[in-house]
Amino acid sequence: MTKPTLSRRSLLKGAAAAGAASAFPAPMIWAQNIKDVTLRQFGTGVSNLNEVGQKVKEDLGFTLEMTALDSDAVTQRAATQPGSFDIADIEYWICKKVWPTGNLQAMDVSKIKNYDKIVGIFKDGKLTPESTIAQGTAPHTVGFTDGPDGTTFASEQTNWMTLIPTIYNADTLGIRPDLIGRPIETWAELLNPEFKGKASILDISSIGIMDAAMVCEAMGEIAYGDKGNMTREEIDKTMAIFTEAKKAGQFRAFWKTFDESVNLMASGEVVIQSMWSPAITAVKSRGIDCVYQPLKEGYRSWGGGIGLSKNLSGLELDAAYEYINWYLDGWVGGFLMRQGYYSAVPETSKNHMSENEWGYWFEGKEATDVITNPFGDAMAQAGEVRDGGSFEERMGSVACWNAVMDENQYMVRKWNEFIAA
């Protein structure tokens, strides 16, 4: 590593920071000014964590302001207020909506140091060379554009990325095994009359429709061409099945926010519902048995990434690239993986996790000791295994990615009818 005009004191502080320092190329001439830079990032609460902002200040010297919003608000802001942010932390399906507005700028892949190590899902869509690509808005289909000013998506890898992948996971149904008392193996159970008045689905149309489609397909009622891009007829049939179930009193409630899903489950109002992985943890942390049930049809998956605002340039743009490289360098990855998400560059995250943590979260091994999340809450005891197993098992059985459909507007109207039914 070439020699220090390294005036970032903070980098030299402490062993961990020194480790991080050695991983970076020599700092640029702007090292002195960088402390004055403030980058404004907004995104969903998932990865917009204050710890990340603090660590950025420590490691990189500049200020990262974070705003956490729900996914609807994130989409709105990215699409309508390009001046209000520097970095957008959004999901790939949101990118599909937002990218054509031209509010984000493409990122030069050659400036991304760990690009080669990014998981295949985000590059050619394949986890391993044999994998089949799941339905829906698979990240690689909206991950690249043709040039620095491209507003359309490239069909294969190019030198210009739309989003740098940061975090992703595989979602499934959450259940209360203590109140159900028998094994649950298929998505079809959501509409099983046995759970009448005790089921729930999320009321975010773009995601809810996918869960609904997983259920209808599992019931054998509908065979979809592409669950992530349904035809009007498929939407009609799906909503008809769910409307009928709703009228028959299958659902206790629909939820829109994380907290609602936790409360529904923890209070026992609901015993089976669509759920997000941290919500399961939140229920468990109250001492209530809750399982993120792997199902034979596979998972509905989602992925997020960070995109750069069109307005970034000069020093701030350099700082943003520095931030991206730091993001993929492992500390954030470890931080997120210890909460049950996956990082885009697992190899580097491994350096920031203990062997036990890596074994439990990534390899699907039995925990050898208590597993705690970064906030100190116990997530699992020794001997427990992660629901769904290893990274390859979970991300290898993704049936569908969160998506935006061509018939989105029609779908939304149908969803509204379903809610009003």
């Binding site: 609807d72 608000a73 989409t75 709105q76 699409a79 309508t80 909506k97 937002v98 054509p100 507005t101 008045g197 729930s200 009321d203 149309s205 709703k246 659902f251 206790r252 409630a253 629909f254 939820w255 829109k256 409360n263 529904l264 209070s267 026992g268 109002e269 935006v404 989105n408 507007q409 939304v412 109207r413 969803w415 509204n416 009818e417 809610i419 009003a420």
Partner: protein, 287 residues
């Protein structure tokens, strides 16, 4: 002489202008904007500012719209009936049964105590209370009134209306209490002297004199309920819809023009309701 007159003219205009400006800027312009946008079109990515009836076509062509408006009006009517009943009784008690002014003020303040917290909190606190394993159900079961927990207590029309009544009754109490306090006590004595029974005094003297208060309370409650979207969402567990939620969903999905169209129709509906109400009572004259 002439100069003085123009001056007076001018100062009149100047005096009126701040309010006019504020109203134009913050009331007329936004509403005009909503009306304009309601004729536009939107795709996922952009808003197309070209005149089109499409939003209204869809709105009036969809059975959902009628169902949702019907639901909204149903909520408004039921909530109105309950808040009026409870509000009038409370106000009557405060105004005519509580004799000393100190007690009147103290009890009146007591009514406002719930308003010291946010209305979201007041609403959400019902959820654990009414839940399947909540206080209400465990009380009912231990009292032997039911064997099974009652599911309809929460996430139903019942819970929505309960929360509305809880939230908005005070808006009925205050204006009715206010008009009741203005009633000349000698009128009531005169009614008794004239041989009217208590009930006759109520229907022939007190209620007619309270009309402006009832009307103001009604306007508050009806407009609040018709414009609400939060209470319906939380208390019905997103299972019921009213117009506010329709608009909210559209906004969340960046369908601003369609949201505007719904908002315009809602605005017209509410204005019509208020127009009808005002035909019954001339608030200005009676205040």
């Amino acid at each position: 002489m002439r100069a003085g007159e123009t001056n007076r003219h001018l100062s009149g205009w100047l005096l009126a202008s701040p309010l006019t400006l504020v109203l134009i800027l913050f009331l007329v312009l936004p509403i005009a904007m909503i009306v304009v946008v309601s004729f536009w079109q939107a795709t996922e990515f952009s808003i197309i500012p070209a005149f089109s009836w499409e939003n209204y076509d869809f709105l009036f062509g969809s059975p959902v719209t009628y169902r949702v408006f019907g639901n909204t009006i149903k909520y408004a009517l039921i909530v109105w009936a309950f808040t009026l009943g409870i509000g009038f009784t409370v106000a009557y008690f405060l105004a005519f049964h509580v004799r000393t002014q100190t007690w009147q003020i103290a009890l009146f303040l007591l009514c406002t105590i719930p308003f010291w917290t946010s209305n979201i909190i007041r609403m959400i606190s019902w959820i654990p209370f009414l839940g399947r394993n909540g206080l209400a159900n465990s009380a009912l079961i231990s009292a032997g009134i039911t064997d099974e927990p009652l599911d309809w207590l929460l996430y139903s029309d019942f819970s929505v209306i309960l929360a509305f009544v809880h939230l908005y009754t005070l808006f009925m109490v205050v204006p009715i209490f206010n008009t009741m306090m203005r009633i000349d006590k000698s009128l009531i004595e005169a009614a008794y002297d004239g041989g009217a029974s208590g009930f006759q005094t109520l229907t022939n003297v007190i209620i007619p004199l309270c009309k402006p208060g009832i009307m103001i309370g009604t306007i508050f409650v009806v407009t609040l309920v018709m414009g609400d979207f939060v209470t319906v969402r939380f208390m019905s567990g997103s299972q019921s819809a009213n117009v506010g939620r329709l608009i909210q969903n559209d906004i969340a999905l960046l369908q601003y023009p369609s949201a505007s169209a719904t908002a315009v129709v809602l605005l017209i509906t509410v204005l019509m309701v208020i127009g009808i109400l005002l035909r019954f009572v001339d608030i200005r004259k009676e205040l």
